[in-house]
Amino acid sequence: MQSKARQKERQRYAQLVARLSPKSDIAQGLFRAFWVGGVICMLGQGINDVFCYGLHWGAQACATGTSITLIFLSALLTGIGVYDRIGKYAGAGSIVPITGFANSVVAPAMEFRREGLVMGVGAKLFTLAGPVLVYGISASIIVGLIAYAMEMI
């Protein structure tokens, strides 16, 4: 049990820390995130158009091809040590698109290579992307079940 005096001391200290802490520049952060994120999305659209109108692929093939291309580019940029610099500049702008997901898989793969292919890369590959997969797939199952139930009615 914490005494009241200690709780009060902690509260006072939290206020002091909040007062003296340097703050993030939100306007700058938003500007960078949106322009870099926007450019990545435009790039995706461009790739999609090449597949669609240049190569005359079907809609599904275009979408899959675009994802694969973006993931490849992101993995490549991660591998040659560029993506972390983009991420440092753009923040959510380069985390939210599919390229951020690829980066979060490739980065641990590189980092834990020295612990071996099984317990290193194999076990650590999804340390960052794992939660997204677990809850993303779980949510899709729930939504799918609801949709199925609605159709039955």
Binding site: R10, Y13, V17, S21, D84, G91, S94, I95, G100, E111
Partner: protein, 342 residues
């Protein structure tokens, strides 16, 4: 006869001497304002090793060997090695000791290890339990990132309060008796730190987590020895960083201590320049250790500084405790280093 003064401080009447010291640093540290003062700078992050962890222990080994070389004695003449580091199970220290073959006590005090080892080491020397011993510690940016934070290539942003783990090491040889007769620096007192936790749980804000422990130890030391800031040329803290240093000043002022800000030298604030984009400054065991050995001890030996209160600060968290939402306890041990006429 008791050697204790006040509630928390130990007087060292034998005045154990600091016989030699050595610092090792990485490339980014060399690019900082004190870059030219380090004894050894490693060429890259791996330093010719297979992994960052092996590179980190090579820093420690290099520092210890260089320190013995400076003292002009063989490693076999060193009776004890007191060392620790940040990695789980302090593997850098243990593995380095395996190669150094010096009898070894492993310490864990996180980034406070340099002053913790000096504190214990000076008591051992003063008590006559060792004539020659080395206190050492190290840290490495890449090993700390993977243990505490994220893979290096992950494209994330660091928060404004984050600090940059120093790649570096420091080793200090303490001696007593005839070996220490010509030492130009001695340890006069030491104050053992209490573990203090004021509820900071953000592991990207170590400065705020550790500042209360530093304030507590400084206040205890000043009270026990009836000293003020005026009695010191410098009060050197380990790696509080810019925010932590500001908080320390505020906390000390609240305790009614007259702080002379220009005497408060934080290694974390100093080791990197403002252009190096480290946010709140440097951190890690190697921060206080390398700066002590590269910048503070030479000035003490030369007489430019006469008396320094040195306290490295440590955050006693682990990745597990942080994930479980626990707040971060801090600790800081203090040693008084004095210039001695040879």
């Amino acid at each position: 006869m008791s050697k204790r003064i006040g509630a928390r401080t130990v007087e060292l009447p034998g005045r154990p001497g600091i016989l030699a010291w050595a610092s090792v640093a990485g490339q980014k540290e060399q690019d900082g304002p004190y870059g030219a003062q380090f004894d050894v700078v490693i060429p890259d992050e791996l330093n010719g090793e297979q992994s960052f962890e092996a590179a980190e222990r090579s820093l420690l080994e290099t520092a210890v060997k260089r320190c013995a070389q400076h003292a002009g004695c063989a490693l076999s003449d060193v009776q004890m090695l007191l060392a620790g580091d940040l990695l789980n199970q302090i593997i850098s220290a243990g593995f380095a000791a395996r190669n150094l073959e010096i009898p070894f006590y492993g310490l864990y005090g996180a980034c406070s290890t340099m002053s913790e080892s000096l504190s214990i080491g000076s008591m051992l020397a003063d008590g006559g339990f060792a004539d020659r011993l080395i206190c050492a510690t190290c840290s490495h940016f890449c090993t700390a990132e993977r243990q505490y934070r994220a893979p290096l290539e992950l494209g994330n942003q660091r928060t404004p309060t984050a600090q940059w783990t120093v790649t570096g090491a420091g080793a200090v040889m303490l001696g007593a008796g005839p070996a220490a007769r010509h030492a130009q620096v001695s340890v006069a007192q030491t104050t053992c730190g209490k573990v203090i936790d004021l509820g900071i749980a953000d592991q990207n804000n170590m400065g705020a987590a550790m500042a209360p422990a530093a304030a507590d130890t400084i206040a205890a030391h000043l009270q026990d020895t009836r000293r003020t800031f005026e009695d010191f040329d410098l009060v050197v803290t380990g790696d509080l960083g810019r925010l932590g240093r500001d908080l320390l000043i505020e906390l000390l002022t609240q305790k009614g201590i007259a702080v002379r800000e220009e005497k408060l030298f934080d290694c974390g604030c100093e080791i990197f320049g403002p252009q190096q984009d480290t946010h709140c400054g440097g951190s890690g065991c190697g921060c206080a250790a390398s700066m002590l050995c590269a910048h503070i001890l030479p000035q003490l030996a030369g007489g430019k500084l006469r008396r320094v209160l040195f306290l490295a600060t440590g955050a006693l968290l682990s990745p597990t405790s942080s994930m479980q939402g626990e707040s971060i306890p801090g600790v800081a041990h203090a040693v008084v280093l004095e210039h001695r006429e040879a």
